[in-house]
């Protein structure tokens, strides 16, 4: 889920007419890897979402985000011509130089075209121009080139893929099919190089991948959400999200997943955790949206209480064209305790719907 919803939301404005052509995410879906790491053209919206917290040998900390979106425009388009638009491919790239205090982000929009963007099962590759993730055996090689910086990482998953929700679907709203198929790789051992201007950093750290595909999921009273990934020092992970409703309440389809050290998962219902902003906020100079930067997460049934904060308040992605809603997506760190033990960790936080409500999601 997450910002990917924002994008999808904007796109739906243009592509709702074709929605009947696509399948809905329904319970009982049979997952199969590595096939399910790649394309699902039967579903209208699909994304691959990579984030991570990295550190160079001398302690310089970075966060990164690289996302690939596929948005179906016309599934039934009967064409062999590459320029005809069957899907739109979007991608977002961001580098958070946590110690340098800068946040760089950029975006891309393409059609598949003659090899410009796409998802290939046979090549095991997801790409948009020269931003790409290619599977090489168990490793994923991530590469992204921008005029100001470039990333080149190798990611190796320490755990099996996690399937969120219940019975193969992550339900987001009332009604059959208002859900997604949601897969995560929650602990990706990451190493590689960041080039920032003329400087090169050899970095290592922990990454996270989300892969989600669906056709429609939110309803019109759901105006935004807060999502976080948490990678704790004890080799466990958490994914939590909140859907905010227009009346100020928290949607009952908010949910989460706990992944233990061996990769076993526990689905968390809305009433099994709380996620609340505590104190400090940051106001975007671009969109004037006010984002809460400190959050407290409690999961009483696991005995977990954590607080998050960030080194870099300015991690908002806003499109200069205003075509897509702005969202805040940034590297965060956690401290707190699990039962009696103190525990820290890193993760990513996403907040959407703070500049204006996400509309048109139906």
């Amino acid at each position: 889920m997450k910002s990917r919803w924002t994008c999808a939301a904007a796109l739906l404005l243009f592509t709702t007419s074709a929605i009947a052509q696509y399948k809905a995410a329904l319970p009982g879906y049979h997952y199969e890897f590595p096939r399910d790491h790649f394309n699902h053209p039967d579903f209208q919206t699909e994304w691959w979402y990579y984030t991570g917290n990295l550190k160079s040998a001398d302690g310089h900390r970075f966060g990164f985000e690289l996302t690939f979106f596929r948005q179906g425009v016309d599934r039934n388009l009967n064409t062999t011509r590459p320029w005809d638009v069957r899907d739109l491919y979007f991608a977002h790239l961001a580098l958070s130089d946590l110690d340098g205090g800068t946040f760089l982000h950029t975006e891309r929009t393409n059609r598949a075209g003659p090899g410009i963007a796409g998802v290939s099962d046979s090549d095991r590759r997801v790409w948009n121009g020269n931003w790409q993730v290619a599977w090489r055996g168990d490793d994923q090689v991530l590469q992204a080139i921008d005029e100001r910086f470039s990333l080149h990482f190798t990611l190796r998953s320490a755990k099996q893929p996690v399937i969120h929700g219940e019975n193969g679907v992550s339900q987001k709203a009332e009604g059959s099919g208002r859900a997604s198929h949601y897969i995560s790789l929650t602990r990706l051992n990451t190493s590689g190089e960041i080039q920032l201007g003329d400087r090169k950093f050899q970095v290592t750290g922990t990454g996270w991948m989300d892969h989600e595909f669906f056709t429609h999921q939110l309803d019109r009273d759901q105006i935004g959400w807060d999502w976080m990934s948490i990678q704790l020092q004890d080799n466990t992970e958490l994914m939590l999200f909140h859907i905010r409703r227009s009346d100020g309440s928290i949607d009952r389809y908010s949910a989460g997943t706990f992944v233990d050290a061996r990769g076993n998962t526990t689905h968390l219902l809305n009433n099994e955790f709380t996620l609340e902003p505590i104190g400090s906020t940051w106001t975007s100079p671009h969109t004037h949206a006010v984002y809460p930067l400190r959050w407290k997460a409690s999961i009483p049934k696991l005995g977990i209480e954590l607080e998050c904060s960030t080194l870099l308040p300015a991690q908002e992605l806003s499109s200069s064209r205003g075509l897509l809603p702005a969202y805040w997506e940034g590297a965060i760190s956690f401290s707190g305790h699990k039962r009696e033990a103190t525990l820290g960790g890193v993760g990513y936080l996403e907040m959407t719907g703070y500049d204006y409500p996400i509309k048109g999601l139906h």
Partner: protein, 843 residues
């Protein structure tokens, strides 16, 4: 102050007394300078346009990727995937014609999905908010603001051979140097053109470091070998280079009127010097130095030059408007699609006009002014002396003329310098000088030979007239020289164009053997090759009464930094019907047999000349994503375009560029069928397609129409030169009349009637015209040989067969002659009005 007074009294005041003559000289200079300025301005405006029409919305870019027949579109994917921060802009580039207005507009296909992205978006347009909805709709177009269309309007566009209706979704600003154009999404553009799998040009923006050359090298290595990676603007530079010879020749042609003007300045100042001989003597006796007198007369010329140049500026600007139209049409027909730029009087062109005007005036006035400074005071002041001493060394001048003629002959044999026929121009100039030196002897001989004959035919007035001419030999020769130079240039260009036309006519007889020809509707241009739908061609081929169809296909390519055409022909058809002409003189069937399914190609004569190729030479072409090697089988005569073409077997071309659509069809009607019936059948089969069909005769007519339009500007330049010369003759005769007032007065006093006086002057003019015509035709013939066999051959590479265009020349010469005689009517009237009593009293 006193110097100014001298200048005023000696130079300016006399001019004000003869306003007609002064204005004629002034106008002649103004016209001469105006023509030079007009051609300069028009050339710049016309050249400016090669950039703008296809560079519309190109934004900033450093490199471009192109290849013959279009870049395979997967190259876009390759470029996008390279691990460098590049900005890639693929473009479909062609033309669309607005059905209603017949206006041809660049049609540009852009990846609008990617353009919507802020990182790439060089294309911004109105109505962007909901633009996403329209990208996928194939009827969506965006147009330049200046076309005046509103979003939501429908426009019918003719693209290739079909008209389709499009909807304007938004407009983009086109005032800032972008040409008005039609923009579509790439997908829609490919559909509209029915050209799939290829992209016409990919623009690439690279980072600053390392160097552009290094990036060029990197991209070359990453892409297929046939694909060319070249610096941005290479196409524009190629066009400029291709047009250099055309502009250069036109520019030189524009100087003819100026040369004629120079003769006239020379004459005017000579007259001034002679007329003011007495005053010069007085001034000298009063202590004025030689240098001062020299300066005074050169100053007079400079005044003429300056004033002339000032008048020339608005005049030249006005003429440039017409010239741009004519040049634009020629450029489009022979070279490249263009849209004339704005005509702008820049400081540079203003200084050119001033420099040319004052420079030519001062240079041509120097010799008579120097003579003025040598007038001995005592001699000049003696009253009643003969005013005009003939100091002509006829024999010496004839020898000089001969020497110059020999040097000219030698220069005409020298090769081109850097593609420019510099020695050819030198030879022409030397010949003109030679003729100027030979003129006094010629005038003397002919007028003395003619005087008796004239007397018996036209009476005593004729005798007087011819005597008067040979007695003022120097002035007469200058006049005859000016007029004959103009006539010679006219004759030379007339012969050249006439020969060219005749050559083209003969060539078309061989080249156009089919009964019917078909091409897509719309204005043709040398670099636009719209196609006829393949299915229409198939349909026509099935019709009864058709013996064969030759599908000609042409592509626009770049060969070694110069644009060229790459065409294919169907050999089995050519062999049976065609009778092409080759440089080697070999039989058509023999040459064409070599081409069949082989790597042999034919190149046109201009192409061979430009690239120094001979039969048997190897030639390497980039075709699609391949590089292929060919051998030049032979060189064929081709007068259809100066840019040069390569021809190959259709089967060979299809192997490299598999698009089967044809640019032109040559249709052969079966022997037992009637051309009109077959034509009607084809027309009904082609319903829904916009194609033009020509009978063999129509096509030839059309070709000649284009040919004549091409040379319209040449004729215009000639006409102006002749006009300048005729005006000069009128002015000079007027001077002659005023100079000879005593003589004329005496004649009247002795009983000559006013009719006789008028006859005398008119006959003098007639004699000058006759002499000039004779000399002009002789010089013109010699110049035409240089034009045809040296200048044209070296500049454009065409072999032209010599031909006398008798009718055209006779017409033009008669007109010039009549104009000369008519021009003498005003001076004759002045002569008649002289009061004999007053004149003789002076004596």
């Amino acid at each position: 102050m006193s110097r100014f007074l001298l200048f005023y009294r000696l130079i300016l005041r006399p001019l004000f007394r003869e306003p007609v003559r002064a204005s004629l000289t002034l106008l002649a200079i103004a016209l001469g300078v105006a023509v030079v300025l007009a051609i300069d301005l028009a050339g710049t405006a016309a050249a400016g346009s090669f950039r703008s029409s296809m560079e519309t919305l190109a934004g900033e870019h450093d490199l471009e990727v192109v290849t013959a027949g279009g870049v395979p579109e997967n190259v876009v994917g390759m470029l996008e995937s390279l691990p460098y921060p590049l900005r890639i802009t693929p473009r479909i580039e062609d033309y669309a014609i607005v059905a209603e207005t017949k206006k041809t507009l660049p049609l540009i296909g852009l990846d609008l999905v990617a353009q919507a992205d802020r990182a790439k978006g060089s294309f911004s347009f109105s109505g962007a908010d909901n633009a996403w909805e329209y990208f996928a709709a194939k009827d969506s177009i965006w147009v330049g603001e200046s076309l005046g269309h509103k979003p939501g309007e429908h426009i019918a566009l003719l693209i290739n051979d079909q008209i389709a209706r499009y909807t304007v979704r938004g407009t983009f600003p086109d005032s800032n140097g972008s040409a008005p154009a039609v923009v579509m999404d790439i997908s829609a553009a490919q559909d509209a053109l029915r050209r799939f799998g290829r992209i016409d040009r990919i623009l690439v923006q690279v980072p600053h470091a390392p160097s552009l050359e290094a990036w060029q090298q990197r991209l070359r290595q990453a892409l297929p070998p046939g694909v060319q990676v070249r610096a941005a603007g290479a196409g524009t530079n190629e066009n400029r280079r291709m047009l250099a010879a055309f502009r250069w020749n036109l520019r030189l042609l524009s100087y003819i009127a100026l040369v004629v003007g120079a003769f006239l300045i020379y004459n005017t100042i000579s007259v001034s010097v002679v007329r003011r001989r007495a005053e010069i003597g007085i001034v000298r006796a009063l202590g004025a130095s030689r240098a001062l007198l020299l300066a005074a007369f050169v100053g007079e010329a400079a005044c003429f030059g300056l004033l002339g140049a000032l008048i020339a500026m608005p005049l030249g600007r006005l003429m440039a408007g017409g010239a741009v139209q004519l040049m634009g049409a020629t450029v489009e027909a022979l070279y490249v699609s263009s849209r004339p730029g704005v005509i702008a009087l820049t400081p540079l062109s203003v200084s050119l006009a001033l420099l040319v005007g004052v420079g030519i005036a001062v240079a041509s006035a120097y010799s008579p002014a120097r003579e003025a400074s040598f007038v001995p005071p005592a001699e000049a002041m003696a009253r009643g002396r003969r005013e005009y001493t003939t100091q002509v060394h006829k024999t010496r001048d004839v020898l000089i003329a001969l020497a110059l003629g020999l040097v000219a002959a030698a220069a005409s044999r020298a090769p081109a310098v850097g593609g420019k026929p510099l020695f050819g121009y030198l030879a022409s100039l030397l010949l003109i000088c030679a003729s100027a030196f030979a003129m006094p002897a010629l005038v003397d001989v002919i007028s003395s030979l003619a005087s008796r004959l004239l007397k018996s035919i036209l009476g005593v007035e004729a005798l007087l007239a011819s005597r008067s001419l040979s007695s003022s030999l120097r002035r007469t020769s200058v006049l005859v020289g000016a007029l004959s130079t103009a006539i010679a240039m006219m004759t030379a260009v007339g012969i050249m164009v006439g020969s060219f036309r005749e050559t083209v006519l003969l060539w078309m007889g061989d080249q156009l053997p089919a009964d019917l020809y078909m091409r897509p509707a719309g204005n043709p241009a040398a670099d636009r090759h719209p196609t006829i739908s393949a299915e229409l061609t198939e349909k026509i081929a099935q019709l009864p009464g058709i013996a064969a169809i030759d599908r000609l296909r042409e592509y626009e390519i770049s060969y070694e930094g110069m644009p060229a055409g790459l065409g294919s022909i169907e050999l089995n058809i050519l062999r049976s019907y065609h009778n092409a002409d080759f440089l080697s003189g070999r039989r058509t069937s023999e040459v064409l047999a070599e081409l069949r399914d082989s790597n042999a190609v034919l190149v046109s004569e201009p192409f061979a000349n430009k690239h120094h190729l001979r039969a048997g030479d190897p030639i390497t072409l980039s075709l699609g994503d391949n590089v292929a090697s060919f051998r030049v089988a032979d060189i064929y005569y081709d007068y259809s375009s100066e840019r040069g073409s390569i021809l190959m077997d259709r089967n060979v071309m299809l192997r490299h560029l598999p698009d089967p659509a044809a640019s032109n069809l040559a249709i052969y009607v079966a022997p037992n069928a009637r051309v009109e019936d077959v034509r009607a059948e084809i027309e009904s089969a082609a319903a829904g397609h916009r194609v033009l069909m020509f009978t063999n005769r129509d096509l030839r007519g059309e070709a000649l129409r284009i040919f004549d339009r091409t040379f319209a500007i040449t004729y215009a330049l000639e006409a102006i030169a002749v006009l300048v010369a005729v005006m000069g003759v009128a002015g000079a005769l007027l001077a002659l009349v005023i100079d000879r007032r005593r003589e004329l007065g005496l004649l009247r006093f002795l009983g000559a009637t006013s009719g006789q006086i008028r006859k005398l002057i008119v006959i003098e003019a007639g004699l000058i015209g006759l002499l000039a015509n004779f000399a002009g035709i002789a010089l013109g013939f010699a110049l035409s040989l240089i034009l045809i066999f040296v200048i044209n051959k070296q500049s454009f590479g065409w072999t032209i067969r010599f031909h006398w265009p008798v009718a055209v020349l006779l017409g033009a010469l008669t007109m010039v002659y009549a104009a000369t005689v008519l021009a003498s009517l005003y001076p004759a009237r002045v002569a008649v009005r002289l009061n004999p009593v007053e004149v003789v009293h002076e004596e």
